[in-house]
């Protein structure tokens, strides 16, 4: 007897619908100031000189670089890729037209058009009386920040929101105090590389007791070919403050792979809260697995103060390879760490992502909700560590890991590590794996939905718990993205 109706029949019928519609794949023609290919101490001196950095920072970079030379690329993640030739890339590229921007009016109109096309508001809209802006944007184009909006408005409250290269000049004491304090220069292969060659990124400081009145957002765009992007973000929430920060990213379609190795450090003091949301939509490569970004990112937050809270929400739909474990170090008593993640992989994408929750203080709590969706020939792994230190009396963790498979050529894997050194800790772990059933698809189609709409609806339902954590501005966009990322995978 031939197989009963199952999902693969449905898949075959609708497989040929469309190739990935990556609508951000265009290239901006702009003259750039680019470092020669290769990575030596001279490259680092070049970058540091371009940024007019103080000696201590150059020394820190060089220390990182020398350490990096002694390190080996990690191989433990469930991702496969040909060896990366670190000498065959540019480590600095900046649009020539924007050497030292002063005001938004001076930004190259070609760049403004690029961001317009990407739907990113980097012009400060005319402020109507009584209407408060809801979002301030720092736009990073290749190796430099090209515009930051609403700086003045934020300055009124004492909030610092600017490119990190600018913060090095204007607030060196803060940068020196916190840079590398959460992710040390020697942390891991990619973070160490980033410490040596990081070019730009955002710097945020929220003063004591201030609730940031709008969403802060950085938008990363890789444009230049053969260029790695190494941004560094540092966010400090002083006692009793609150900030919600969003990060988005895109890149042109190119046949060669490009490296993106970012570092994000968060510090939350007593009673402070940081909500960090990412919609990662780097170019994922084509449907045959050619091209795409290698996204090797280190994100870590330190809940240093009592009652502090750090919440990571990520929607990962892009990149050929994602290697990323946003983590929380729960030092302060009663501090809270949260990780909400949706990782969607299609075609030949690979994602190895998860989190680390390190419980150090008393009554620290963490919540992990990870949703992995695989389609096509993609492989998706959740890798997570929950570690309870001896003094973390009353620590609690709840982990929920759900995988959804579309078709039968993809894979989903769950690798939870639990280390508890305190008997009073409560740790719960739940995991499920499901497939989109042919029945569900048929039910939706019988009600008028196309296979793509049906999949998008079912997957959005599957991710709901995570998507509802996103700020409103992002939630709608993310829902659409979920549908688009899975286009052509199935029905």
């Amino acid at each position: 007897m031939s197989p009963a109706p199952n999902t693969s029949d449905t898949l075959d019928q609708v497989k040929n619908i469309t190739d990935q519609k990556y609508k951000y794949g265009f290239v901006t023609e702009i003259e750039s100031d680019t470092a020669p290919k290769g990575l030596t101490e001279d490259t680092i001196r070049f970058i540091s000189a371009k940024k007019n950095e103080p000696q201590w920072l150059l020394d820190w970079r060089l220390k990182a670089f020398r350490h990096w030379l002694t390190m080996k690329e990690p191989k433990w993640a469930r991702v496969a890729y040909p060896p990366i030739d670190y000498q065959d890339a540019h480590y600095y590229s900046a649009p020539k037209s924007t050497p030292l921007k002063k005001s938004l009016d001076e930004v190259d109109p070609e760049l403004l058009r690029t961001y317009e096309k990407l739907g990113i508001p980097i012009k400060e809209q005319e402020l109507l009386a009584g209407v408060e802006p809801t979002i301030a944007v720092d736009a990073v184009f290749d190796s430099v920040s090209v515009a930051t909006t609403f700086k003045a408005k934020l300055h009124e409250k004492g909030i610092i929101f600017c490119p990190i290269s600018e913060a090095v000049q204007t607030h060196p004491e803060l940068v020196k105090q916190y840079l590398g304090s959460v992710v040390p220069y020697s942390d891991n292969y990619f973070a160490t590389l980033n410490s040596a060659v990081f070019t730009d990124g955002s710097f945020v400081y929220i003063p004591k007791g201030v609730r940031c009145p709008m969403e802060l957002s950085t938008y990363f765009r890789i444009n230049a070919a053969n260029t790695g992007q190494f941004e560094r973000t540092l966010i400090i929430a002083d006692a009793g403050s609150y900030v919600s920060y969003l990060e988005g990213c895109t890149a042109p379609k190119r046949d060669e792979n490009q490296l993106h190795a970012a570092v994000v450090e968060l510090v939350a003091h007593d009673d402070a809260q940081i909500k960090y949301s990412t919609v990662q939509n780097w170019y994922p490569g084509d449907e045959h697995g050619v091209g795409g970004i290698y996204n090797f990112v280190t994100k870590r937050g330190a809940c240093r103060g009592v009652n502090s809270k750090i919440s990571w929400t990520q929607v990962e739909t892009g990149s050929a390879i994602t290697w990323k474990y946003p983590s929380c170090i729960l030092q302060g008593d009663n501090s809270v760490g949260e990780f909400y993640s949706v990782a969607i992989t299609n075609n030949y994408q690979q994602a190895d992502t998860g989190t680390k929750m390190i419980h150090i203080g008393r009554n620290t709590r963490s919540t992990i909700v990870a949703k992995g969706i695989s389609a096509g020939r993609a492989q998706s792994t959740y890798r997570g560590l929950v570690k309870i230190m001896p003094k973390a009396i009353g620590a609690r963790n709840h982990t929920q890991c759900d995988s959804l498979l579309i078709g039968d050529k993809c894979g989903a894997h769950t690798v939870p590590y639990i280390e508890s050194r305190n008997k009073s800790a409560k740790i719960e772990h739940e995991a499920t794996t499901a497939k989109i059933s042919e029945e569900q698809l048929f039910y939706c189609r019988q009600r008028g939905l196309t296979p793509e709409d049906a999949v998008s609806l079912i997957v959005n339902g599957f991710c709901r718990e995570v998507l509802k954590e996103l700020p409103m501005e992002f939630a709608v966009e993310a829902q659409k993205l979920v549908g688009i990322s899975l286009e052509g995978s199935v029905g």
Binding site: P5, Q440, Q446, P451, I458
Partner: protein, 250 residues
């Protein structure tokens, strides 16, 4: 409206339907009865276009069009609605999101304007009320944790919203309590009209005393064995399917 001629169909490579002829005019309500496993649900799936159910011979014409050539969502848009014997659960998707997405998908295909959230909610609330369902049902995930009867009612709510031309009810009565049966029947009857037709699959005469059919057919061994008026249902209720060679040992 619907013309089924010599329909043969298989599930996998197993023949289930072996020559069905059935003609349904606009305005008519046809009931299909028959023993378990005789192919009633299979017929409904063939009409709705489910994957894995293959037509091996014969034709189905719907308003002059070859129904079998259309993908399921097109059939839905042209007004074919199937109330499932076993409605499906969709975790995380609220009933109202599902209904709104479906309604707008159908309206779009019909060239009608889409409803915004407010218009939709107004309509959905009114239909809920008609069917004795609480608004709370709109907020819950599609069929998740619904009782058997609630699932059936939920399917009827979808029917009421999508406003179909040809409605196929596959054992919609099973699992309904006495009051729910009357409410659902009222909902279905309100959709009766000169431009619409219905195919009601049931095991029980009881439903047919509420939704009174114009014709009753007996389906057994993949064929229609006998057709008659509404009195045939009463006869079957009294005598079972023995005369069609079905063993009643169970």
């Amino acid at each position: 409206m619907l013309e089924i001629v010599n329909l043969h169909a298989s599930v996998g490579d197993r023949p289930i339907l072996k020559g069905i002829d059935l003609s349904i005019k606009a305005g008519d309500v046809h009931a299909i009865m028959g023993p378990n496993g005789s192919g009633k649900s299979t017929l409904s799936y063939i009409l709705a276009g489910r994957d894995g159910y293959t037509v091996t011979d014969g034709s189905v014409t719907y308003n002059g069009e070859d129904l079998l050539a259309l993908p399921p969502e097109r059939r839905a848009a042209t007004g074919v609605f199937l109330a499932f014997q076993y409605p499906v659960e969709i975790p995380g998707v609220s009933n109202s999101t599902f209904l709104k997405t479906a309604l707008n998908a159908v309206r779009r295909q019909r060239g009608e304007s889409e409803l915004d959230a407010i218009q939709f909610l107004k309509l959905a609330r009114a239909k809920c009320k008609q069917l004795g369902m609480t608004d709370e049902m709109l907020k819950r995930a599609v069929n998740v944790g619904f009782s058997g009867g609630e699932k059936k009612r939920n399917d009827i709510l979808q029917m009421a919203l999508l406003d179909p031309k040809l409605t196929i009810l596959d054992e919609t009565d099973s699992g309904l309590d006495i009051d729910a049966l009357r409410i659902v029947a009222d909902g279905v009857n309100s959709l009766r009209g000169p431009n619409r037709a219905m195919l009601v699959i049931t095991h029980y005469q009881r439903l047919l005393s509420y939704i009174v059919p114009d014709y009753v057919h007996v389906l057994a061994f993949g064929r229609i064995q006998r057709s008659g008026g509404k009195e045939l249902a009463l006869e079957l209720e009294a005598r079972g399917y023995a005369e069609f060679g079905v063993n009643e040992a169970a």
